[in-house]
Chain length 225, copies 2
């Protein structure tokens, strides 16, 4: 029909679903998933709550879908790291940098920060298991790095908590409309956080992300606390 | 009266206020400050909402009071670091370690994670200014460390974002009822995060926080994602 000039019904559905996930990720990040409502998500898309209900059963399903998407991105990014990194530390670096860049591209936020027990129902259990599996993968990579000589002797749990804290916190201070590109931010934050584990740490880090615009950042756009 | 055997009315008021702040900090951390209600805070104290209203005007006032307390602890901890640390990196280490330990002792949580624009009203502006002042102090210390040779060449903003991310994220995985003491956790996380900046990084970090109980940690009690 129409020689495929207009996207098929299925493609349109998938595109709308993607737009909803993206809007939801941003609203949940800014307002918290418990505080935000489906109306807030609908409002940010400029549609009615009724229109949203054609694609979404309830808020819990939407939180789950965002978290699933984030975990899929994290898994794929880490697989890329494992395929292309030379040392375990390289694998972690590629995995985390790719995760941040992909998250900003796909969901519009660098990471999802959920409240405790934000997920409910039977599917939540599966998502928590996926999250735990990702963390275990990260911990194994830290141990692998201790064996291959790329990572200093450390407690893998603490190392992974530290890395994921630095990564998740990007959502609290990074604004895509600011002067730093996703790639710049991802590189700089992974570079410094991963130096904490590096058996052969660089003697110099990126010192100037964007000299011309550094002073133009507005107070509330970049804060860390 | 009663020979001071029972605390004075003022002391009792102050103690109750402290108990409320502590309960609120925990509820806000677990549920998000937007998602949580004053009923949730009252419920966690085992009192009625009406009883709470004798001490608190509304939820916004309580969020502000928690954030003010956290910033006061952060400021005092950093002052202690500045008074007792030899290098700028030592100052940062003492400041962050003390902050984590004090926060857990005073508010029952390692750090407060607030949603964007969680604070409202005229007082909020003052609190945001205080938070910005703390961040500026931290950034100046990073610059000081680059000058005194204790910190590698880096972008102070990114360095502070990374450190505060690692510190705040402790709230997402640390449970006081778990096997790690506040001092152990504070030491281990600050040790590894600050190594990222260290001009003379240790070749070995704390490798084993608590070998006997490491496997007893329940899945949902310690997760990083």
């Amino acid at each position: 029909m129409w020689n495929d000039a207009s996207p098929s019904r299925n493609t349109q559905q998938a595109m709308k679903r993607k737009a909803i996930l993206r809007a939801a990720a941003i609203v949940f990040t800014r307002q918290g998933s418990r505080g935000a409502t489906l109306e807030d998500v609908a409002g940010s898309l400029g549609v009615s709550k009724a229109a949203l209900y054609r694609y979404v059963v309830n808020k819990n399903e939407l939180i789950l879908a965002c978290q699933e998407e984030a975990l899929d991105i994290a898994d794929r990014a880490l697989s890329l790291g494992e395929e292309t990194g030379r040392t375990a530390l390289d694998k972690i670096r590629i995995g985390l940098t790719t995760y941040l860049v992909e998250m900003i591209a796909e969901l519009g936020v660098p990471a999802l920060i959920l409240e405790d027990n934000a997920l409910h129902g039977a599917e939540a259990e599966r998502t928590y298991e996926k999250r735990d599996a990702y963390e275990m993968r990260m911990r194994r990579l830290v141990a692998e790095g201790m064996a291959d000589g790329s990572i200093v002797a450390t407690e893998p749990k603490i190392a992974v908590f530290m890395l994921l804290g630095a990564i998740h916190w990007v959502s609290k201070w990074y604004r895509p409309e600011g002067p730093w590109t996703p790639a710049q931010v991802a590189h700089a934050i992974v570079e410094i956080a991963s130096r904490a584990l590096d058996a052969d740490p660089a003697t110099q880090l990126t010192t100037c992300l964007d000299p011309a615009t550094a002073d133009h950042q507005k107070r509330k756009e970049h804060h860390a606390f």
